[in-house]
Symmetry: C2
Subunit: 423 residues, 2 copies
C-alpha cells in the first residue's frame, strides 16, 4: 500500500481537528482509499495542545527545516493562517518538491502566483479545498466534476459569520451590533470581526474560485467589496415585506470574455435557493454551459468540517498529486478585461421632507441617469418627514452612484438611508 508522509504546520482548531481525523480514520482511509497516511512531523510551540492530543513529542518542533529537509514527508498541510510565516514555509516546501495543502484563503488569494510558480518548478501539487467554503467540495467539483463545462457564473454565500449575523437580524429582529455580539459570544465571530463583516474573507474566496472557474486571474483588487456593517434591521424588515432575504453575496460572471466580480449585501428573492441558506451554513451556485445551475451547500467553517476538506485534500494528493498542478492561468489581465459598471436592480430608501414636489425632484435625477423605477412605496410619514422606498429596474452601477450623490445633495432630501442591490 502507498505510504505517504504528512507534516502539519500548526495545531489550532483546524489543525487539531485534522490531526484527530487522520488518526481516528487511519484504518478507514487505508481500507477504503488504499493509502497509508503517516503524520511524520508537526510544527507547534503550544505544549498544551500537543499534550491534549497525546502526540509523541519526538515528532514535534518549531523548525521548518525539519519538514523541508525530511525526505519522508511528501505533503505539507498548513494551518497558521495569515501571510507569514505561512508563505515562506509553503514556498520552501514547494521548492523542496513537496505538495502543499492549505485552508489559508488570504495567503492563497494574494500569493497564488508565486505559489503556483513554485509548484510548477518543484513538481508538487497545491490543494486548497478547505480554503473556500470549508467542507463543501467546491474545488473538487470545479476541477474534477465539470471538465466539459465552461463556468459562466458563480454566486454564493461564502461566510458563515456574516450569514449568522444577518439571519439573527432577520429572524430575531436584532440590530447589527447585538447580532455581532451574540455571534462573538457563541464563537461564530472573532474578537476582531473585520475580515468577516467587511467581506475581506468572502473576497479572498471569490478571487480563488473565480480564478479557478474562469481559467483567468481575478486578483482581489479587481473585486468590488462592500461589507454588512451599515445594514440595519429596518431595511432587512422592509425587504422581507417585499419578499426578499438579505444575504452577503459573492458574485462573479464572465460575459464575452469580460469578468465581473463583486461582494456585497444583496436582497435575494425568497424562492431563490440561496435565500434559505441560513445561520452558519454556506452555499455556492455555479452555472455551467452544459449542466446548467448546480448548488453545493454545507458548513463553511468549523474545525471538523474544514478538517474534513483538508483530509480529503491529503488523500486526493496522495493518490493523484497531478490533480493539484497547473490549475491556474496566472497571465496578468488589464483593466479592460474587467467589467466594473455592472448591472443590477436596486432597493433605495430615502428620507425626505414631507412637502409637495419632492418626488418630482428625485424622479428627475433618476431620469437623468436613465434609471427606471419599477415600484415606489411611501412609508408612514412622521411629523415633518417621510421615507420612500424605490425599487429600480436593471440599471448600471455607475449611474446609480452618480444619481445617489446628486439626490443626497437635494434640499428636500434629508438622508439616503440605504442602497442595496437585488439579485
Amino acid at each position: 500500500m502507498k505510504k505517504i508522509g504528512v507534516a502539519l504546520l500548526g495545531l489550532g482548531v483546524v489543525g487539531s481537528s485534522t490531526y484527530r481525523i487522520l488518526t481516528d480514520q487511519a484504518d478507514y482511509i487505508r481500507k477504503n482509499h488504499g493509502v497509508d497516511i503517516e503524520i511524520v512531523h508537526i510544527l507547534e510551540k503550544n505544549k498544551q495542545r500537543i499534550e491534549e492530543l497525546g502526540i509523541d513529542k519526538s515528532i514535534v518542533s518549531t523548525d521548518i527545516n525539519n519538514v523541508v529537509n525530511n525526505p519522508n514527508i511528501q505533503i505539507v498541510a498548513e494551518f497558521f493562517g495569515g501571510i507569514e510565516p505561512a508563505r515562506t514555509f509553503l514556498l520552501a516546501s514547494l521548492n523542496a518538491g513537496k505538495s502543499i495543502v492549505t485552508a489559508n484563503k488570504e495567503l492563497f488569494s494574494k500569493h497564488r502566483c508565486e505559489l503556483t510558480d513554485a509548484s510548477n518548478k518543484g513538481g508538487g501539487g497545491i490543494f486548497f479545498e478547505a480554503s473556500c467554503v470549508g467542507g463543501v467540495p467546491i474545488i473538487r467539483t470545479l476541477t474534477l466534476g465539470m471538465q466539459g463545462d465552461q463556468i459562466l457564473s458563480i454566486a454564493g454565500i461564502f461566510n458563515g459569520t456574516t450569514n449568522y449575523i444577518l439571519s439573527k437580524m432577520s429572524n430575531d429582529g436584532m440590530g447589527y451590533s447585538e447580532a455581532l455580539t451574540e455571534a462573538q459570544r457563541l464563537g461564530f465571530a472573532e474578537a476582531d470581526p473585520t475580515a468577516d463583516v467587511e467581506a475581506y474573507d468572502t473576497m479572498y474566496k471569490l478571487s480563488i474560485l473565480s480564478s479557478l472557474a474562469f481559467h483567468k486571474s481575478v486578483p482581489i483588487d479587481k473585486i468590488y467589496r462592500e461589507g454588512i456593517c451599515a445594514i440595519t434591521k429596518e431595511d432587512i424588515n422592509y425587504g422581507k415585506e417585499f419578499g426578499y432575504t438579505l444575504k452577503l453575496l459573492a458574485i462573479a460572471k464572465i460575459t464575452n470574455g469580460k469578468i465581473e466580480a463583486r461582494v456585497h449585501p444583496a436582497f435575494v428573492e425568497n424562492n431563490h435557493p440561496l435565500a434559505s441558506v441560513s445561520g452558519s451554513f454556506n452555499a455556492v451556485m455555479l452555472e455551467g454551459s452544459n449542466v446548467g445551475d448546480i448548488m453545493l451547500y454545507g458548513r463553511g467553517a468549523g474545525g471538523f468540517p474544514t478538517g474534513s476538506a483538508i483530509v480529503s485534500d491529503i488523500v486526493c494528493c496522495a493518490k493523484y498529486p497531478d490533480a493539484g498542478r497547473g490549475l491556474f492561468d496566472n497571465s496578468v489581465l488589464t483593466n479592460s478585461d474587467f467589467n466594473t459598471d455592472f448591472q443590477c436592480r436596486y432597493y433605495i430608501r430615502i428620507n425626505v421632507s414631507d412637502k409637495s414636489g419632492v418626488l418630482a425632484n428625485i424622479a428627475k435625477v433618476f431620469g437623468e441617469y436613465d434609471i427606471s423605477i419599477s415600484s415606489m412605496h411611501q412609508l408612514e410619514p412622521s411629523s415633518d418627514s417621510a421615507s420612500i422606498i424605490f425599487f429600480t429596474h436593471m440599471t448600471f452601477e455607475l449611474g446609480i452612484n452618480k444619481a445617489i450623490k446628486k439626490i443626497k445633495a437635494l434640499d428636500v432630501v434629508n438622508s439616503v438611508y440605504a442602497v442595496i442591490r437585488l439579485i
Copy 2:
C-alpha cells in the same frame, strides 16, 4: 499531450449531447485539462442521427468488435440504457482492458458485481457519475471529496419526473393523472412512466449511492420501494396546511453497522432544504461523520446535464483511471445486516362513520402497537362520515402496518385513505 480514444455506444439524447460537448469543447478540454479526447468509434444504427451530427461515417458501425478490438480506444461510453446489449458490450470492453463510462443506473445497480469483477481483472476503471442524479457531481463528492468522512446517511430527491409531477400537484392543484399527462406532454415523463412513478429509477440510484457511500453492498431487493401513483392532491393539500411538502425521497442510513434503505413518498417540513427542491431539479443530502450535512442540487436528467457528467467522467478517466477502480465492496450481506423495521413519524388519514366511540376504537388499536399520537385533526364531516388525520410520534414501520390492517377491519372505519411517512 495525453491522447485518449473514446467509443460512444449509442447516439440517443444523452449520447448525442455527449458527442456535441466532446467536439465543441475539445479545445477547452485540451487547454484547461490537458487531455486530447478523440472519438474513435461510434455504435449507432440510426442514420439520421449520424447525419444530423455531421459524423464521418467511417467511424460508425453496429459491431461491438470494432470497439473491443481497437487498441486506440481506451474508454467506452455507453448510452443504450436497459440491460442488454449494454451489459454484454460493457463486460467485453472491461475484459479487453478498457475503462467504461455509463449513465445506466438499471444495469449498474443490478450487475455492479460482475462489472466490478471484470474491472478488477481487466484493469480498466468504471465511471458512473451520470448514473446518479445526472449533472450533480455526487459520485465525485463521495469518492474524491469526503475521504476522511464515514457517510452516516443519504437522503435525496433523485427523480425529476416524479418531482415535477408532485410539484405540479402541489403548486397548481392538479390531480396525479393530470400532472402525469402534463409531464408526458412536456417530455419530462416517458410514454410508459412505470420506472419513474413506481420509483424503480430512484431505487436503482439509491442502490448505487448507498453501496458506494457505505462501502457495503446494498442490492435493490434490500430497498423498500413505494411509488407516487396513490398520492392524491387532497393529501398534498392537507400536508401543506400543516407545513409539509410532499416529495418522493430516497433514504439510506447506516447505524451500528446495520443498513436501512428505502424509497417512498414523504412529507418534508417546509424549512428542510429538500422541501424547496422543485420541478425537475434533484438534490442529495449527505451526512458525513466530520463534515456534517452537505447538499448538492442540480438537474438530474436531460441531455446536456447528463452529457456534462459523462464528459467529466471521460476526462477524469483519461487523467486518473485509478479513480474508477476498487470503489465497491461486493461482499454479500445477510438479512440481519439490514434494518427493515425502520422508524418514522406518520401521517394517517382515515374516513370513519360519524358516530360516538369511533375514536376510542381507533385509539385502542394504536395503543396495542405502542403507537403514540402527536396530534389529531378532524376534518369537515359530511352527512354520515368524517375524516380524521393523525400524526404519530416516531414509531416502527411493522407496528404501523399491523395497526393499519386492524384499523381497516374495524366496523366504524370506512377507509384508510393514506399512510404517508414524515421526515
